[in-house]
């Protein structure tokens, strides 16, 4: 069985948000929810200063804090290592949002349109609403699932496909020959907040 993970090459990424948008469109997330985000930071003082973009998503940890704290076992890891949420079992207690050290989980109390109130929903928004409620839903925890539906269609997660900088590699971390495994090994791959001990499966390659 594969153990899916992702590598994000920060040398290639230039912070364009294509990943955020691709995720939004593929997973029908409502306003204020990007499962795949780009954080922007700055370090140093002028003129020795540099801005850095840091794309983040659910890290599909091997020892996920969210799973540990979930009282209903709605959150669990699939055999392929992808951490998912059973929305029928989730009671919306938000413990998992506290349990995730990476802030990768989102919940919306009710579905909202992007447009001012009082307008009939556009066909697109109607589709988005139905698709969101079918896959994820309101009042329950939601997050990146490495694009389950796309993978079923033989595609890679939407953030990987769209990335104009080709900065993302999706693959099987159990396979030492996969590009993802190779790049982590060869290019000094690292994870965020390793001290949390959750063993993320999303790795970064250094920006310089």
């Amino acid at each position: 069985m594969a153990r899916y993970g992702m590598v994000i090459d920060l040398k290639r990424c230039y912070g364009c948000y294509a990943c955020s948008m691709a995720c939004k469109v593929a997973n029908h997330t409502p306003p204020n929810v990007f499962w795949s985000r780009v954080l922007k930071g700055e370090s140093g003082t002028f003129p020795n200063v540099v801005r850095q973009a840091l794309p983040v998503l659910c890290f599909h940890c091997e020892d996920p804090g969210c799973v540990k704290v979930c009282p209903t076992k709605a959150t669990y890891a699939n055999d392929d290592g992808v951490v998912v949420i059973d929305k029928e079992v989730c009671v919306g207690c938000k413990y998992c949002m506290m349990g995730c050290p990476y802030g990768a989980r989102y919940t919306v109390p009710e579905w909202k349109s992007y447009f001012p109130e009082g307008l009939p929903l556009s066909e697109l928004e109607q589709f988005q609403k139905e698709a969101w409620e079918e896959k994820s839903g309101c009042g329950v925890a939601t997050k990146c699932d490495f694009c389950t539906e796309r993978r079923e269609d033989g595609k890679e997660p939407s953030c990987v496909t769209a990335c104009p900088a080709d900065a993302r590699i999706f693959g099987d971390l159990d396979n030492p020959d996969s590009e993802a495994s190779q790049r982590i090994k060869r290019d000094r791959g690292f994870v965020l907040k390793p001290e949390q001990g959750t063993k993320p499966k999303v790795y970064y390659l250094p920006p310089r």
Partner: protein, 890 residues
């Protein structure tokens, strides 16, 4: 055409077409589920993107379904016009709208058809080639502009790149370039031309280990990704580049001797009396000095020319003094070398605020990285050929070109490439909007191989140009409303048409007609040009009648439109050719050529009608459709690379009509053969064929030279000044005509010479990756993304400067220029900006009621942009887009 597929009993299909969220026009595939367009992906078949697509393209479905789109024709019932006036729209039928329009156009046609002025958006550059150009030719008007899309970004850049590269822009050969130098542009970083493909290529280059140096007043995406950021003072890139040229030539003694001698006019002998070429008495061709035979030769004499790198030729002089016909002449290169000596590192530091030591060091680095003398062997149709390898490229765009020194700045930056021979060869600065193409092997079309004129210089007669940068047009007494005919070195200008004395100018030049009808296709020129009140009152309100094809009711329609026609967006229409000839969307590097088409992924919603369909309808009603088709046939020959086969020509005798799918089919068959019509191409929405290596790296396969010495500018300046005198029009055009000269210089912007110390901050705008022109601001997904970014809606200000002025993070402020024009926004504090600058993003700060997502977000920078002669580049008439302001709390 596209077979419908089903999933769970519901339609689920991906349709290939072409994006239209910006002018890059990357290939996309669009998902339609049960009749609803839900998703966009890159089209793996299209060389522009190869399956990748940017944030704007991904957000396309929201443009299709936005409830604020205009869906029905509207008529203004309030006769009053202006910013803030309620137009009191009334919904009318298409028949009524077209009846009104035809009546007005017919009257204008009788009086003087030149009273029609076409204004179009650059976002839909491919549609312009049909509906706009075809109509103008048929109706008989020369008046046209693309508002901010032209004057902010291209008068200097496109002009100079035409002269130096037969192209629209330049870009590093990312696949092989080891040292890209980025002067104020986002090429390779998500915006700009062929954005997605270039972003992939630039990322590949970083991964390969290429080193980037970026000159930018703030930490733009390209500065953040660079290995070295030089926070340069805004508007001084030209001085920086001339400093590099001086340092290369006079400090380090580095130049590419072979390139200068055989690929530029560097060896042309210049006579001292008037700075003109010394010419051969018999042929009138410029002369060079043959060092082997010790005598003058005409520049094209086979003994002193090298077309291919391995050709042999006599050595020619580029330094020294040589006597021809009793006149002591100097090679142009020597004059250039002397001329740039004043740009010492110290002087450049004073202007640019880049340390003198850095100027000198970077020049040395360029000289070393260029590997002058190195070659590679490429496979051409005629077998393996050796060409120079020059892996450095200085490139630039809006940020550095949008100033009163636009033309010379562009040339100065590009000159760095030409000094070290890094132009249109392996690893160097390449023409973007590639114009060298031997054509598809089956038909030889589209065909475009540049050639040299009698003076030996590269003729910019390519499919990209309406404005023919070289050979220079001779200025003529103007007939156009913007007096364009008399300014051969410019593409567009605004200082004439937005002047309060516009009609006086027309009187003075004896232009017998006045603006009557404006047809607008997608532009929001109230916001995209400059100070909104000036544009509206001085220019737009001078038209008696304005009708507008538009997706939204923008600030333009609110202020001045009489009729609004609901256009389809790019997902609802056919466009026969998108990547050709649009110049922004040719695949760069060695990947295949691609001819992209746009095809509808859904029938037009509501009462939206395609701009091109309606323009055809209008022509039919005016009885000029035969001329319209002829106009298209003529355009196709010029702009799409070669003559048309008679059997595919559109009917010119009025005996039959054509619809757009048929036009698409004919054009495809004519270019690529009977078997490659619409049926064939619609499966992938792109027709591809391999690029010849000698078309990619064309420099050493073509006999043409490029100028380092712009001898002919002297003539142009004199001719324009003379015309002004003839019409006694000096008071309107008291430009510094001495800027029309042969060698590049740097001149300050008004922002650099602002005398009042109260206006102590420099401000400029930058291109955010999620926006293009002004329209994308209304897309709710792109708006949401903009809010994710710390700076897209903010005014960036250095933390120390803010502290000194008592301004805090998030505080609302005014920026006010010395003309009393001011804009509002909020401040984001940062270390990533030169402390005397303020940076604003995009065409933001909308106020229109019918774009509620865009309304009130960001800062309307353009309201600070003055549109007068003082803010216009005398050489190219480009507008200056940097300002000096004071900042205070709102």
């Amino acid at each position: 055409m596209i077979a419908a597929k089903e999933r769970n009993g519901k339609e689920d299909v991906w349709i290939p077409t072409c994006c239209g969220q910006c002018y890059c026009m990357c290939g996309i595939r669009v998902r339609r589920q049960n009749g609803v367009v839900t998703e966009v992906e890159g089209n793996p078949e299209a060389p522009t993107g190869r399956g990748k697509i940017c944030v704007k393209g991904l957000a396309g479905p929201q443009l299709l379904y936005d409830p604020y789109r205009v869906n029905y024709p509207l008529k203004r019932t309030n006769p009053k016009k202006g910013i803030g006036v309620d137009p009191k729209w009334e919904r009318i039928s298409w028949d009524e709208a077209l009846d009104i329009i035809i009546k007005k156009l017919k009257k204008c046609q009788e009086v003087d058809p030149r009273g029609v002025y076409f204004q179009a958006t650059t976002t839909q550059a491919s549609e312009i080639r049909f509906g706009v150009i075809g109509f103008m030719k048929a109706f008989g008007t020369p008046n046209y502009w693309v508002s901010g899309g032209g004057l902010h970004c291209g008068n200097g850049a496109h002009f100079m790149n035409g002269i130096m590269h037969v192209s629209w822009s330049i870009i590093p050969d990312f696949a092989h370039c080891n040292l890209p130098l980025n002067f104020g542009c986002s090429k390779g970083h998500g915006a700009g031309h062929v954005a997605v493909q270039n972003a992939t290529q630039a990322a590949d280059a970083r991964a390969r280990g290429s080193r980037t140096i970026t000159f930018d007043p703030f930490q733009s995406a390209q500065a953040a990704k660079a290995h070295e950021w030089q926070p340069i003072r805004v508007g001084t890139d030209g001085a920086m580049a001339l400093g590099l040229v001086n340092s290369l030539l006079n400090e380090h003694g580095i130049w590419d001797d072979e390139y200068i001698k055989y690929k530029t006019n560097g060896p042309y002998l210049i006579r001292p009396s008037d700075g003109r070429y010394m010419r051969d008495k018999e042929t009138n061709k410029p002369l060079v000095w043959d060092l082997v035979d010790g005598c003058q030769k005409i520049h094209s004499d086979p003994s002193v020319t090298r077309v291919e790198y391995e050709d042999e030729a006599h050595d020619v002089a580029i330094q020294g003094r040589y006597t021809v016909d009793g006149v002591e002449c100097t090679p142009a290169f020597e004059l250039l070398k002397e001329h740039v000596k004043k740009y010492t590192p110290q002087y450049v530091e004073e202007i640019t605020w880049v340390p003198a030591a850095s100027v000198s060091r970077i020049a040395k680095e360029i000289g070393q990285a260029a590997e002058i003398g190195a070659t590679v062997t490429i496979q051409t149709e005629k077998g393996p050929k050796k060409i120079p390898k020059r892996p450095i490229a200085a490139h630039y765009f809006r940020g550095s070109q949008g100033h009163v020194n636009s033309g010379w700045t562009c040339l100065s930056i590009d000159m760095v490439n030409h000094i070290v021979g890094a132009a249109d060869t392996w690893g160097g600065a390449m023409g973007l909007g590639a114009t060298v193409c031997g054509g598809y092997e089956g038909t030889g079309k589209p065909y475009q191989i540049p050639y040299a004129d009698d003076d030996g210089l590269l003729v910019a007669k390519a499919w990209v140009y309406d404005h023919l940068p070289y050979p220079m047009r001779v200025p003529k007494p103007p007939t156009r409303l913007d007096l364009h005919d008399m300014f051969p070195t410019s593409i567009y200008n605004a200082f004439t048409i937005t002047s309060p004395r516009w009609f006086e100018m027309l009187d003075r030049f004896k232009i017998p007609y006045r603006p009557d009808i404006m047809i607008n296709f997608g532009s929001n020129s109230v916001m995209t040009m400059g100070h909104a009140e000036t544009v509206t009152e001085n220019f737009l309100k001078k038209f008696n009648f304005i009708f507008s094809f538009q997706l939204y009711i923008t600030e333009f329609e609110e202020a001045v439109a009489d009729i609004v026609l609901p256009d389809t967006c790019y997902l609802e229409r056919y466009t026969p050719a998108v990547s050709f000839p649009s110049t922004f969307s040719h695949p760069q590097g060695e990947d295949d050529w691609g001819w992209t088409i746009r095809q509808p992924v859904i029938e037009p919603l509501y009462e939206r009608r395609d701009f091109n369909v309606v323009m055809l309808d209008i022509c039919k009603r005016l009885g000029i459709s035969d001329k319209y088709y002829k106009g298209l046939n003529d355009t196709i020959i010029m702009r799409y690379g070669g003559a048309m086969d008679d059997k595919y020509k559109l009917c010119e005798d009025g005996s039959r009509e054509h619809e757009w799918p048929e036009v698409t089919d004919r054009l495809l068959k004519d270019r690529f053969g009977e078997e490659h019509g619409l049926d064939h191409v619609s499966e992938k929405a792109v027709f591809t064929w391999p690029k010849r290596k000698e078309d990619v790296y064309w420099k050493w396969f073509n006999p043409a030279r490029v100028p380092l010495y712009f001898e002919y500018f002297i003539d142009s300046g004199e001719q324009i000044a003379k015309l002004c005198d003839e019409f006694d029009a000096k008071e309107f055009f008291d430009f510094d005509w001495s800027r029309f000269k042969a060698l590049a210089d740097w001149y300050p912007c008004p922002s650099h010479t602002e005398p009042d110390p109260e206006y102590d901050m420099y401000t400029f705008y930058w291109r955010a990756v999620m926006h293009c022109n002004s329209l994308t601001q209304q897309n709710p997904w792109l708006d949401e993304c903009s809010q994710e970014d710390p700076y897209v809606y903010a005014i960036q200000m250095h933390a120390d400067t803010a502290q000194k002025k008592g301004i805090k993070q998030g505080e609302k402020v005014w920026l006010e220029n010395s003309h009393g024009h001011r804009v509002r926004g909020w401040v984001a504090l940062t270390e990533g900006i030169e402390p005397r600058h303020l940076a604003v993003a995009a065409v933001a700060g909308h106020w229109g009621e019918y774009m509620p997502i865009a309304k009130g977000k960001g800062t309307f920078f353009n309201d600070l942009v003055e549109m007068d002669k003082e803010h216009t580049d005398p050489l190219t008439l480009n507008q200056d887009i940097c300002c000096r302001v004071k900042i205070y709390k709102a």
